[in-house]
Symmetry: C2
Subunit: 139 residues, 2 copies
DNA sequence: TTACGCCTTCAAGTCGACTTGAATGCAAGC
DNA sequence: GCTTGCATTCAAGTCGACTTGAAGGCGTAA
């Protein structure tokens, strides 16, 4: 049987597809405790509504660049009694700031690249000579 | 002797420090062929001016988020006869665009995070339910 | 009955850029 | 002569988030 589902529970391949993931990723999430043990039928995982909802949260969190560890941390805090909104707010605020910093670093890198674009050196050694004059004199 | 240097050649530790790297990184660069074999004295590497210049280029490139592979590719093209300025220009142009895309992705992530900041869900499952309504219905 | 397709577990592999550890060597200073 | 300090090589480990491979199970279709 392809999917004898009681009340909309999905086999792993369907659950994975619904979120654009591979089955192995779902097994991995379960293995590291990010998803609590998925109920089995005939030894095969059946993803029920609750599991799919948690999975949706994990996916959304991954898409905004949260690490699995950060997500696990959030879940742990919620289990510890922290209200959902507060948990998200703190995590989001921190992450938004982190990403802002990252964007600034990227902008700086772009500036440097634009300078390199105007390179008129005749050899890579001359390039290095010029660079050495400014960069990396931590001696 | 700490550093009996002929004409300013440096031992690995000094060369590394000058660029804020560890000795192991320099050995690694040499090992993968990014730096050509460094001349030895008593079996110990002596970084001469040319080596330091190449190292400066590698460092500068790393700082603007170029991978070692990209740097190696650039060096290879230069050995192949491509003029220095053209090599940099092509690589920089591509990389600047890549980084621009990356910044856009980050901005999107920040937008999503700001939405999560306003989360009023009473449980993580409700959160997942809402998210499922929009996100990840690739079925 | 046999094949097919999807599932399972567990261990190991992947990627990039290094780092770390073990075993060893060599030069200087006491 | 011994210790100190930096050097060497080579193999293996690290990090995060998975993926892959091997070996096997279960249910259905031909």
């Amino acid at each position: 049987m392809k999917a004898k589902r009681l009340s909309g529970a999905l086999p792993i391949s369907d659950a994975a597809r619904q979120f654009g993931l591979r089955s192995s990723a779902l097994r991995y999430y379960e293995q590291i405790g990010l998803l609590r043990p998925i109920p089995r039928t005939n030894g095969q995982r059946c993803y029920d509504e609750a599991a799919l909802q948690r999975l949706a949260v994990i996916c959304a969190a991954r898409q905004v660049d949260l690490s699995l560890e950060e997500i696990a941390g959030l879940f742990a805090r919620l289990r510890g009694g922290t209200p959902v909104d507060q948990g998200w707010r703190e995590l989001s605020t921190r992450k938004i700031a982190e990403l802002e910093q990252l964007k600034q670093q990227i902008s700086k890198a772009q500036d440097s690249l634009r300078r390199l674009q105007n390179c008129r050196c005749s050899s890579i050694e001359m390039c290095g000579e010029k660079l050495r004059a400014r960069v990396g004199n931590k001696s």
